[in-house]
């Protein structure tokens, strides 16, 4: 692939002076239009050492309103970053609506530098390609414009540039051992680069190879490519039929094939108070020990609670955390998104809170809101929630791949039990704060939620992150089962180390 590129492209000073000022204005206009449209953009710059990446980014940004972009130089992960799945640091630096994130090195650092340096195994590199494809697809599906550039020169030219840099005391420090290593290993690098370009050159996140013999040519080509891309994206938005989102209608009686997974739940399961107290005590001390062992084994743990209103999520979480050292866990309640969260991909707010190694995050409601409340209430479009099933599976897979233990609970009660609990709350002064009009409104949509829950359980119960249904008509039974499930999952992960 690369050998077919004539990297030695140039344009004349005269043409450049004629075109470039106009191109800069166009790029500025594109930025403004994208900001107005709320379009987030990611521009990735990769290339050979000394191909002129730094200078290019420098000049490019001069055409931009500095209030609307951010340049991220990504190389070796910091200690904090290394304690999370490898894509975490990119999630944390995503552009919000209308902003531009410029990556000087990017997630491709992993499949190029880290791989060729031998920092990661071949198997890890193979998985990284999968992660990258998922990552970029999730973002572009979520409306982010991604464009990637590879700055290309040949090995001889690279050597020439290194020597020129070394001659000047002001730039000699730039030419590190890593630079020369790349030049010596140029052929091995070419293979890795070609594999990378071939595997990750998708329609929505394409690569442009830039012949980087001359700064002027490079800049002109990059700006032309970007402005065209932005214009196309904005035009496509204007053309697109506006996506409408509507609340789910009451499902047809035949939509669900009974008995569903929920119908089969045995809600008569129960525990006596005595048996409960005894088991609880034992489980608590077991969990306390396991938390410490998981900390030593550097295992991150994610626990997500979903369930019907009044099914007992809060009480369940309270019993679980009572057994834990509060320095090692965090409970994250998920309500309506804040406005910063709204300006990002919907998974961003969960990436923000994933635990680092040795820590536990408990989500009180979770990313499954996308396929539950957002689907039922019409807070997102049909395409969005349909896409979410695989996006969620990918998200969880990336966590598990890093060694994270995931436990997901659906707290199940039946309609009669819910009514009893609502009435009890309404009639008990000390519990009235627990019940709201929204609870009653949600209850009227039981059939819609039932359909959404069954879909969710069927589509997102994976081998690596299975759902556990808690039979919660008896609160005591549900609590013991959840603590037991968490303890067993932690134990299994610890044994595997």
């Amino acid at each position: 692939m690369l050998e077919l590129i004539d990297w030695n492209q140039r344009i004349s000073r005269k043409d450049y002076d004629l075109w470039y000022p106009q191109l800069e204005i166009e790029l500025g206009n594109c930025q403004r239009a994208a900001r107005k449209a709320g379009l987030p953009m990611i521009w990735v710059f990769e290339g050979w050492h000394a191909a002129g990446k730094g200078l290019l980014i420098n000049r490019l940004t001069q055409a931009l309103d500095p209030r609307g972009f951010r340049v991220h130089l990504m190389t070796v992960p910091t200690a904090e970053e290394a304690r999370r799945p490898w894509l975490w640091r990119y999630w944390m630096n995503l552009p919000s609506a209308g902003e531009i994130a410029i990556f000087d090195h990017s997630w491709y650092y992993r499949v190029l530098e880290e791989r060729l340096r031998g920092d990661i195994s071949d198997e890890e590199a193979a998985r990284a390609y999968g992660d990258i494809l998922e990552f970029e697809r999730q973002l572009t599906a979520g409306g982010v414009l991604i464009h990637k550039f590879w700055l290309h020169v040949d090995a001889k030219e690279q050597r020439k540039r290194f020597r020129a840099l070394q001659k000047d005391p002001a730039t000699a420090w730039k030419v590190t051992k890593g630079y020369w290593r790349q030049n010596r290993d140029y052929d091995r690098w070419v293979q890795a680069v070609e594999e990378t370009l071939a595997r990750t050159n998708t329609a929505d996140a394409p690569w442009t190879i830039v012949e980087a013999a001359q700064g002027k040519f490079t800049r002109v080509k990059v700006i032309r490519t970007l402005t065209q891309r932005v214009r196309d994206a904005l035009a496509a938005r204007d053309d697109a039929r506006p996506m409408t989102a509507a609340p789910m209608p009451v499902p047809d009686a035949n939509t669900l094939v009974h008995p569903t997974v929920l119908d089969r739940v045995d809600l008569t399961l129960s525990l006596t108070r005595d048996a409960y107290e005894k088991k609880l005590k034992r489980l608590r001390s077991r969990l306390y020990d396991l938390e410490h062992l998981a900390y030593l084994a550097k295992i991150p743990i994610v626990i997500a609670y979903e369930g019907w209103d009044a099914a007992g999520k809060g009480g369940n979480i309270k019993r679980l955390t009572r057994g834990l050292d509060p320095r090692g866990y965090q409970v994250v309640p998920i309500g309506p998104p804040t406005d910063e969260e709204r300006r990002h991909h919907y998974l961003w707010r969960f990436w923000r809170h994933i635990p680092k190694t040795g820590h536990i995050t408990i989500f009180d409601r979770s990313w499954y809101g996308r396929v539950l409340v957002e689907r039922v209430e019409g807070f997102c479009t049909e395409r969005e929630w349909k896409r979410a099933f695989s996006e969620i599976n990918e998200f969880e897979h990336q966590l598990v791949d890093f060694g994270t233990v995931i436990v997901k609970f659906w707290l199940h009660i039946d309609q009669d039990e819910q009514l009893r609990r609502f009435q009890d709350r309404a009639n008990t002064p000390s519990k009235q704060w627990k019940i709201t009009d929204e609870d009653w409104r949600n209850r009227e949509k039981w059939a819609q939620y039932e359909l959404a829950v069954v879909d969710m359980l069927e589509r997102t119960s994976t081998i690596y992150a299975p759902w556990t249904i808690l039979e919660a008509n008896c609160k005591l039974y549900a609590r013991i089962k959840s603590l037991q499930t968490v303890a067993d999952a932690m134990q299994a992960a610890i044994n595997q180390r």
Copy 2:
């Protein structure tokens, strides 16, 4: 002080069983009431090693709704944290409205552990006390409830506990060399602890010394203290006359003593296009070099732009950044706060963006909004903006203390010039997006803003962070002067290293 404490306090099992369940319920009620009232709380736990801090926090949190608190274990700063002023990591972990942040070790780690270990000099410790007092005062003035606990046992008891821990293989790892060092140096530690308690025991952020012989007694005392504190705080809120905020009226003609600092600005200063181009070119290459040198010298740089609408802030920032490597700076535009920002202290959103060592942050509008737009429009109360002058001086002092260079610009134009620019914008299609109804509304409040600006300049131009007024009727002149000012400030800081 500490020698007068009879640390060996106990309560009987019977009394404990009688009181404790009720105390737990009360603490839970307090948490709920505080959440409803939007009261943020910070509970600090410090004490001797093995005094029972971990267990206390563990038991305390069992009485709380786990969705409303977060425990922060703060010890040695991470590499990222060490690249910012030392209080930064505490700012980043502040509770938002209605939440509880529990600190297991806190900012007192610096004046105890770090000081006694010799990690920081006596002078740094002395300054740290000042920083702590400012920090706590800023937070409590902003409505945060702070309570601090010191868990006390004597040296003999501590030794006994260490030995007991060491005997049990499950806990032996806890007793580190640092533990024994504290015991050996107990007397030196007592001095430091007493100094700390004495200097930082303020009315709004008090210390409670807890006799920690027995876990039961400790818990009862801590919960009683906290519930009383929360109840008092909520009652005081109810009693307080609601603070009203109102737009500033047109000031009386005699309010400002003319000539003010603004009257004395020579707005006839100007530059020809030729002279401008020549100077600009020289300054740019100088700034590019300085940025690199400042990076090597690990100097963080903060540049804040304030000024009249249409005074040319945007164009000025653009010329400044054009000379810089975009990997080393970030421009942060300050608009209305997001809802996450609204739930925190008003300085929090600026702490979020302060540069780490070797980096530059340019604020397009800044924390001075508090004493400008918020004062004029009545977005905050009179007490709040009056307090802000010293809070801002303290904030900037803490940055400078860390080695940060601060450059602050006021872009000054006169009313006629502003009108000309507004009309030009309104009449030029390509510039119309730049002018809004709000600009015209602000213009009507020129007299109010003038008063606010003069106050601001007079009260916050400090030796360590002086204001530079840019004579901006001639845009070219203002640009050159700002670049020159930044370059000189960077140069001076580099020379000092």
